[in-house]
């Protein structure tokens, strides 16, 4: 930093330092040195005083020594030759009777960071290792680390390494810990300090003497040790148990980290450890310092990747306080979204609703997005809150709500009616381009449900000349085109005007190109346009109630207790609207990207799992679908599905008959091997190809394995709704319940056999179908479709097996 009169000051100080009168008076001399250091910390370049300061270090005054040494260390690299002069004084100080002076000299000698001086430093450092004062040994040990850090490639002196290893048994705990640190630095190339059994046990026994920093260091180093037997492992674990619940968050975290690395092969023990730390971690979330709270929250998120339900009972601890900073609130909200279940959903939503009006607009928007995220499973309640928020008429809230609604509708198409009715009047409060783009997208895609859609678009089109946002203009074009397809009479005139403006007047290439493209598309005929523009309106597959699959602990164990979880990308951000290609397309784009975005925003033929599309679409084509048309609309929400499914169950048990007039329930077995080991995503993608929507899965390779799905059959005599369940109970099925009891018993033998030879044997999956109204023809046709899909999946599995065997 420039300092006015800097040169003047330096000259004046130089005069004072070399003045023999000043040097004669210790107090004046020291005050002058003090002024030099003060000037240095104020950013004045005082490097010119180096030679005068070298002289000033020959003093008996310890404070002056400290100041001079600090000065010298800061400027040594600029004056390597002159620094040589200091070495003498420093070496003399290393012989001082006062251990404080010895340690001071040694520390500064190693802090000079001049490779040319290394040879002079080695001897005092060696002597320092054997000093009788612990404080000198502490410094000497780290001094060696500094030397090797200075010359990374240099040869390692085996004698020093041995000495350091033997100092691990030093009576002073800090010397011991410093030895670990130094050896780690010196032996970096070889993987750090070697931890064998005696050292481990020694360290574990000495750990109690160390302070917090020392304990963390020891725990970190011990991660390298692999116990030789299970007995030894459990001995170590029980020794560490106390520090696992240590009230010092760093110690607790370091212990957990060590537990996880020791028990990498014992998932049950690791899980128990995670359970045990949840208390101290929650305590850390309430600690006085915001940064510690933030760190704890980030680490909780990490743990929840493996044990999603870990914090379930403590969800109230994540409620935000009014005065908490935004970064803590947002992490807390992310955790709250993960913790939602049937019991706490209303409470969590009430809480989140409170944050929607937060003073900080980012927090408010994050809260709205969090509600939208919960809406994927509890759509009705969330929609009520979201539409209620529109009434506040605040631009940032409305914008976030409209964007959230757009994301929600994409995932849960059953919400569309509510969303459409909520959209009226939003355009008045929307200010930012993101929000307006979301509104336009919704108006384009669901324009048939919003009566005022053409008028809203007309207002946008009238103002298009003054519109600055490129994204809004692009979205406006597409939305108007789409609305034209559904409501041509009302939109034709304004579409003409818009196209005219875009092609004739617009200066931006992207908008003009898009306008031209649409113009030519319309010339090709209305059917062509429809094919291009009316793609999928939604992708319910993203909203399937799988929950996030629990990750193995090993995936994050290495980043635990480091900086990584704190960084933005370190955890899954719930705010990013995942998956929807439409939304990506609504971001501002450059001309080069245009064809690409067009491609993905308007033609939705690719299922999510596009890698396997080729094969599967072939098999889908072979299906006997001609006799039967399946369709996904009207969509069924998970709640609705559950209601209907359970309603059928109760009906069933009351009447004890398998059929009522308008309702049919059948059970069937389909032999298909290894479908169980398929990932839910694959199964889902396959089912969607034939228009069967899967709603819920159990995680793969759990028993009983279940999949719930539904579809509509269209055609003669009437369209019907089919609800279905795939069940593989297996052997380890615990107490079966209600109506499926008998079937499961019968299943028993087969299942037992299946488990033993599950890999390549045929597995019988039980299919329970409920249909309304009754249409046996359709059910039979549907069953054949379903079994084909399952067989196709199984045979693919076989192929893979064959491939791996080859």
């Amino acid at each position: 930093m420039p300092y006015l009169g800097g040169e003047e000051t330096v000259r004046e100080l130089k005069r004072a330092l070399s003045n023999p009168n000043v040097q004669a008076e210790p107090l004046r001399y020291r005050n002058t040195v003090l002024r030099v250091v003060r000037a240095m910390s104020q950013g004045v370049n005082v490097s010119g005083l180096f030679s005068e300061m070298v002289k000033a270090c020959a003093t008996v005054d310890v404070v002056q020594k400290k100041l001079v040494y600090m000065f010298l260390c800061s400027y040594a690299s600029l004056n390597p030759e002159l620094s040589l002069l200091v070495i003498n004084t420093l070496r003399k100080d290393c012989q001082d009777p006062n251990p404080m002076v010895r340690s001071l000299a040694l520390r500064n000698m190693s802090n000079l960071r001049l490779p040319s001086l290394v040879e002079y430093v080695e001897q005092p450092l060696t002597a320092g290792l054997r000093d009788r004062a612990a404080c000198v040994r502490r410094v000497a040990v780290l001094g060696w680390a500094k030397l090797y850090n200075l010359q990374p490639g240099s040869d390692i002196d085996a004698a020093v390494v041995n000495e350091l290893y033997s100092l691990l048994r030093d009576p002073d705990p800090v010397v011991m810990v410093n030895c670990l640190r130094a050896l780690d630095e010196i032996l970096k190339e070889e993987g750090g300090v070697v931890i064998n059994k005696p050292i481990t046990h020694h360290l574990l026994n000495r750990m109690k003497e160390c302070d917090v920093w020392g304990q963390c260091e020891v725990l970190r180093v011990l991660q390298r040790y692999r116990p030789q037997s299970d007995d030894e492992l459990f001995d170590i674990l029980s020794l560490l148990d106390a520090s696992l619940v240590s009230p010092h968050p760093p110690v607790m975290a370091a212990t957990l980290s060590l537990f996880l690395s020791l028990c990498a092969d014992l998932p049950a023990v690791s899980l128990a450890a995670l359970e045990r730390v949840s208390g101290p971690l929650l305590a850390a979330c309430g600690s006085g310092s915001r940064e510690m709270r933030f760190t704890a929250l980030c680490h909780i998120q990490l743990l929840m990747r493996s044990v999603p339900g870990l914090m379930g009972p403590h969800f109230k601890r994540f409620f935000c306080g009014y005065a908490e900073p935004a970064y803590i609130k947002q992490r807390k909200m992310q955790i709250m979204v993960e913790l939602v279940n049937d019991e706490n959903v209303s409470m969590l939503l009430d809480e989140l609703k409170g944050y929607c009006t937060d003073v900080n607009t980012d927090t408010a928007q994050a809260a709205i997005q969090a509600i939208g995220h919960i809406g994927r499973s509890y759509s009705d309640r969330c929609l009520e809150i979201l539409t209620g928020l529109l009434g506040l008429k605040q631009d940032h809230i409305t914008s976030a709500v409209v964007q959230t609604l757009r994301d929600l509708v994409w995932v849960c198409p059953q919400c569309s009616d509510t969303v459409c009715s909520a959209l009226e009047g939003c355009e008045e409060t929307l200010q930012d381009s993101q929000g307006r783009q979301a509104l336009l997208w919704l108006l384009g895609v669901y324009g048939d449900g919003v009566s005022s859609a053409p008028y809203t678009l007309e207002a946008f089109i009238d103002g298009v000349k003054s519109e600055v946002s490129l994204g809004v203009k692009m979205e406006l074009l597409t939305a108007t085109m789409r609305l034209f397809l559904t409501r041509p009479a009302e939109t034709q005139d304004m579409l003409g005007r818009l196209l005219h403006y875009c092609i004739e007047e617009e200066t931006d290439m992207c908008v003009r190109d898009l306008g031209l493209l649409y113009y030519h598309l319309l010339k090709c005929g209305i059917e062509e346009t429809r094919n291009v523009l009316q793609g999928r309106r939604s992708d319910p597959s993203l909203g399937v109630l799988i929950g996030r699959p629990a990750q193995p602990i090993s995936q994050w164990a290495c980043s635990f207790n480091t900086l990584e979880p704190l960084k933005k990308g370190g955890t899954v951000t719930q705010t990013a609207s995942r998956g929807s290609p439409e939304h990506e397309a609504s971001k501002p784009k450059t001309a080069v990207e245009l064809p690409e975005t067009l491609d993905c925003s308007h033609i939705h033929t690719d299922p999510p799992d596009s890698a396997s599309t080729g094969q599967r679409s072939d098999s889908a084509a072979e299906l006997p679908a001609a006799s039967l048309t399946l369709s996904l609309s009207p969509t069924l929400s998970p709640e609705e599905f559950e209601r209907r499914w359970l309603q059928r169950c109760s009906l069933q048990s009351e009447e004890a008959a398998e059929e009522s007039s308008d309702f049919l329930q059948t059970e069937e077995r389909i032999c298909c091997s290894a479908v169980l080991q398929r990932s839910p995503q694959t199964l889902q993608a396959a089912m969607q190809l034939v228009n069967i929507q899967t709603l819920a899965f159990t995680p793969p390779s759990t028993l009983p394995w279940r999949v719930f799905f539904y579809t509509h059959t269209a055609g003669t005599p009437a369209s019907t709704l089919i609800l279905g369940e795939l069940l593989y109970a297996g052997e380890a099925d615990p107490a079966p319940k209600d109506e499926e009891e008998e079937e499961r018993k019968a299943d028993g033998e087969a299942a037992a056999e299946d488990l033993t030879g599950r890999k390549d044997r045929q597995v019988e999956v039980k299919v329970t179908l409920k249909q309304q109204p009754k249409d046996e023809e359709a059910v039979r046709a549907f069953l054949s479709v379903l079994s084909t899909v399952l067989h196709t999946l199984s045979s693919e599995r076989h192929d893979e097996h064959a491939a791996t065997h080859l």
């Binding site: 960071r113 004062a133 780290l142 680390a145 500094k146 409620f319 605040q394």
Partner: protein
Amino acid sequence: MSASAIFVLDLKGKVLICRNYKGDVDMAEIDHFIPLLMQQEEEGMICPVITRGTVHFMWIKHSNLYLVATTNKNSNASLVYSFLYKLVEVFTEYFKELEEESIQDNFVVVYELLDELMDFGFPQTTDSKILQEYITQEGTKLEVTKTKVPTTVTNAVSWRSEGIKYKKNEVFIDVIESINVLVNANGSVMSSDIVGSIKLKTMLSGMPELRLGLNDRVLFSLTGRDKGKTVMMEDVKFHQCVRLSRFDSDRTISFIPPDGESELMSYRINTHVKPLIWIESVIEKFSHSRVEIMVKAKGQFKKQSVANNVEIRVPVPSDADSPKFKTSTGSAKYVPEKDLVLWTIKSFPGGKEFLMRAHFGLPSVEKDELEVFFLMSIDFFVRYMKIIEKSGYQALPWVRYITQSGDYQLRTNA
């Protein structure tokens, strides 16, 4: 751990003092810190870690200072933050107030401390009691030969030095509890807990051995006397002087106390606390440009008790102006820099009810959380304190209970 360098900056980002421990991060990197922080602040996305290229800045803010640690490794974040807070703690014990001025006035001591606290990026001696023995502000006085080696640097009992002498031997015990309550708009308590700490001020000679008895429920169930008023403690945290092995086996808190002031233990009690002061608020809107907020506060505690220095903070929109207040007791004022109305009541007797009315011009959104700060007292007590010293002198223990409100929030419907 490995922090590469530690910086103390003022609010404008000027480096007040810095110490380069490892030399593997360019010291000039710090110039980017404040611009990055400002940028994050504008985007509303402030984060305690700022990354620029390979350099990470981990920072905390204390009064008008930023304390920043830089590192280029994936180091242990919680340890770095603990260290930064330790710095604050040590500096505060030295200078009472840690702020820009005290750093500048004492920069020699700060340099000395930074030198001792950390070496090569690793924390070394961080106990301020020990540090105070060989780094003193009186260091500015000239001592020609300072040959006395502080015993504590190598001592077995690192927190207390030998040969302390007092004329009158006394121990002061302060039980300080703060209540955290969150009450939602319909009056139900969402979460509540008590965070407490026991502070000691020891003025005892020699190496005394102290034993402290508390009415912890764990303690009672072990001795089989599970009667009376007991409380369950969680997250108990002790000073390093407490013998944890003794505590684990028979729940006695025995220790050799550090000399002078120290925090012996801290704990959390997770109980259902009735909000001691109940707040109701009504917000009335007259036309678009005027609003009246009425706040009613009621003391829900014993008539004989008095809460002192009650502060009720009512958040108001940032665009509020021309405030007018009417209070039945105490005084209210508008704090525009924090966007709130501060209503202070010097003494608030139990069972009483007070009113405050505030008029504002032109607020837009209504915020609906109130914060209350007050001092009062509750149900946790020290049963005994035994002092054992070889010389067998007489010593007096003094106990005092203080209750503060911690994070005390009542939400109201606007």
